[in-house]
């Protein structure tokens, strides 16, 4: 989604801790809105865009529980509530985030609730974002006359590292009727960013934020999106102005990339990881033309067969098959000769003629 013109209207921050720590020391929940100056607002806006705009790793999620008192209900109600309601709902959500932080390498940190307006794919929209920000450490530089002092800071928030934030983004896309009260999931586009989702699969650690805390599930379109993306990559490689031998190698790279242990796929990252620099932007453009502008959950159901083995068919009707994990390392296309033969090298000796 193309997110521009982010303007921040209300912000509040609370402390969040691991569930096991709640009993020891209840997290600090603030009663007051945070006053941010223009540069602070700009920074928050930039982090939001970086994590949810096109080229980012955020994924669409589907709201699983939108009932009264659900996280969706509490979060979306903040859009129209007065400051008192805004503060109350944010405290409630911060509390349930702490409760949800049970598994994996979770640190305590802050929950920042941001309300604002933006232009979403060209349409003026309102949004609420919940940012779980881990504290970073750093040094604060102060220039005093001729001398510079560096002071240790243990609680720096929203630095450059995306590993330190998780975001839930509720973008209002419409309103079903004039009915006041609870909002419908259809009125919103809900996006989640969590760096754990890129790498470690659908494990408990990655799931706690969008699932346990937000009561959402990964988009049901994942399998279809994965297949569509696979087809786009295939046809892009097919059209690349490279030799057939390189094309076979890129196809092998494609298969191995899909088979890697990653929970999401994203066009720009794919391009940077697999394609040569000269072709990366052409690939990003092709994906954009096909409507793929951001990350999505990888779901291999519809492409499993294609990933199992890699094959090459020759004009003489000879087809060479190999399990894809073997193909890359055991088959080398060394050249095409003018008399219509292709030279291959295959690792291993002839073992049998089944």
């Amino acid at each position: 989604m193309n997110i521009t013109n982010v303007d921040i209207t209300r912000v509040i921050a609370h402390e969040v801790v691991r569930a096991s720590q709640i009993a020891e020391r209840p997290p600090v929940l603030s009663d007051d809105l945070v006053v941010l100056d223009d540069r602070g607002k700009a920074l928050v806006g930039r982090r939001l865009v970086d994590t949810v705009a096109s080229g980012s790793h955020c994924v669409d999620v589907t709201v699983d529980d939108a009932g009264v008192g659900s996280p969706f209900d509490k979060a979306t109600a903040m859009l129209d509530s007065d400051d008192v309601g805004f503060v109350a709902n944010s405290k409630h959500l911060a509390g349930s985030l702490s409760t949800a932080q049970t598994a994996g390498p979770i640190k305590s940190g802050s929950a920042i609730f941001v309300q604002g307006t933006c232009s979403a794919d060209g349409t003026p929209s309102r949004f609420v974002a919940i940012i779980k920000a881990d504290s970073d450490q750093g040094l604060y530089k102060r220039v005093d006359g001729e001398s510079i002092t560096l002071t240790y800071v243990s609680d720096m928030l929203l630095g450059e590292s995306q590993r330190l934030i998780k975001i839930a983004f509720f973008i209002e896309e419409g309103r079903d009727g004039d009915a006041p009260g609870a909002r419908q999931p259809e009125d919103f586009s809900v996006k989640v960013f969590d760096h754990l989702m890129q790498t470690s699969g659908d494990g408990e650690a990655a799931a706690y934020f969008y699932s346990t805390f937000l009561k959402c599930k990964l988009s049901h379109n994942a399998a279809r999106q994965t297949k569509q993306f696979y087809e786009v990559v295939r046809s892009f490689i097919e059209e690349m102005p490279v030799s057939q031998a390189e094309r076979v190698a890129y196809h092998g790279d494609l298969i191995s990339y899909f088979r890697q242990n990653r929970a999401t796929l994203e066009p720009r990252t794919f391009a940077q990881d697999v394609l040569p620099q000269d072709h990366q932007d052409a690939f990003v453009r092709k994906c954009r033309e096909q409507g793929i502008t951001q990350a999505f959950s990888k779901e291999l159901d519809l492409v499993k067969g294609k990933l199992r083995r890699q094959s090459v068919k020759f004009s003489s009707n000879v087809t060479l098959y190999a399990p894809s994990e073997v193909f890359r390392d055991a088959v080398q296309i060394t050249g095409t000769s003018e008399d219509g033969w292709t030279e291959l090298k295959i690792r291993g000796s002839i073992e049998a003629m089944p």
């Binding site: 521009t4 865009v49 705009a53 790793h57 232009s119 060209g122 932007d281």
Partner: protein, 333 residues
């Protein structure tokens, strides 16, 4: 008129012919200056400083009485005074030709080498444009009264055509020594070869110039359109020639290939939110007051991974610009 009378009449006329020559030359140089912008541009444009030349009396008499017998030589001989303009490129000849044709005199084209090329398609020899102009009415120049109808010849040629003409003049037209016929044939053949080569080279020079100009014009057109779009969107003045614009156009030359001004309009039209963004940002950032942001916006949208790799100034600007465009900087900076 006998020879003595003709001689004294011509000699009496010499200062007037000289004044006519200078009047014509000054008028043409003045017009060139207006077109090219400065005196120094004109002196760069003209490969050899022009100088009016009044015909030698003997040469006039020989032409009048021997070579091409005339009934009224003082009126009929058109090159009693002449000026030669030597330029670099064929297209420069047309520039001067147009000035001559629209000058404060009557002009007639005596030789048109482009036309001669077609008429004698398999013949290679002297090539040059010749004009004969005549004063329409009396003119006073530098205190000298020039009568109406007095002719002046103007030759315009490229520096290569000039080199050929000088060579041909010395070796064929007026050779210092008379060669045996067989040798002269060889020389004539070589001159034709030289002429053909020079015509080819003049065309090649023209191609080089055209390629450079096409590129420059296309880049200029993009910067100009960028500033027009910026002005329309923001309602603020915009300058197409900024240092930043120049740096960006230079750095992303390769990417500008294939970008047309109309693509900038389409790009901006698809982004109705741009107005609010630009108005807000330009208040506090000089970067957003530069209309090249429109062109840069298109470049970034089309080449989001490649643009940061070549970014020529502080990357904070570009990172902020990505956010403004709604493109994540994740993994790019």
């Amino acid at each position: 008129m006998n020879e003595a009378e003709l001689q004294s009449a011509f000699e009496a006329r010499r200062p007037i012919l000289d004044a006519l020559g200078r009047w014509v030359m000054d008028s043409i140089i003045e017009a060139l200056e207006a077109q090219l912008g400065s005196k120094s541009a004109v002196s760069k444009f003209l490969q050899i400083p022009p100088k009016p030349r009044v015909k030698e009396t003997d040469s006039f008499l020989e032409k009048a009485l021997v070579r091409k017998r005339k009934t009224d030589p003082l009126s009929e001989i058109t090159d009693q005074v002449g000026i030669r303009f030597v330029v670099l490129l064929l297209e420069d000849i047309d520039r001067i030709g147009k000035i001559v044709e629209s000058g404060p005199w009557t002009a007639q084209k005596d030789r048109d080498f482009q036309q001669e090329r077609l008429e004698k398609a398999d013949y290679f020899a002297y090539q040059s444009d010749h004009f004969v102009i005549r004063t329409r009415s009396e003119v006073t120049h530098e205190g000298i009264l020039i009568p109406a109808g007095l002719p002046c010849e103007i030759q315009i040629r490229t520096i290569l055509q000039h080199a050929y003409a000088e060579m041909a003049h010395n070796s064929s037209y007026k050779p210092p020594v008379k060669l045996p016929e067989e040798d002269q044939k060889h020389i004539n053949r070589s001159l034709a070869k030289g002429s053909a080569l020079i015509e080819t080279t003049d065309d090649v020079f023209g191609d080089i110039k055209k390629r450079l100009r096409d590129y420059n014009e296309s880049v200029t057109a993009l910067l100009v359109r960028s500033s027009e779009i910026y002005r329309t969107i923001t309602g603020e003045p915009a300058n197409p020639n900024t240092a930043l614009g120049e740096i960006i156009a230079e750095e992303y030359r390769g990417m500008l290939k294939g970008v047309t001004p109309d693509m900038l309009n389409t790009w901006a039209d698809e982004r109705p939110w741009l107005k609010e963004s630009l108005l807000k940002k330009r208040a506090s950032s000089v970067f957003y007051r530069d209309s090249v942001v429109i062109l840069l916006g298109l470049l970034v949208t089309e080449n989001e991974t490649a643009v940061p790799k070549r970014w020529p100034v502080d990357s904070d600007y570009l990172e902020d610009f990505y956010s403004t465009l709604g493109i994540s900087t994740n993994g790019l900076f």
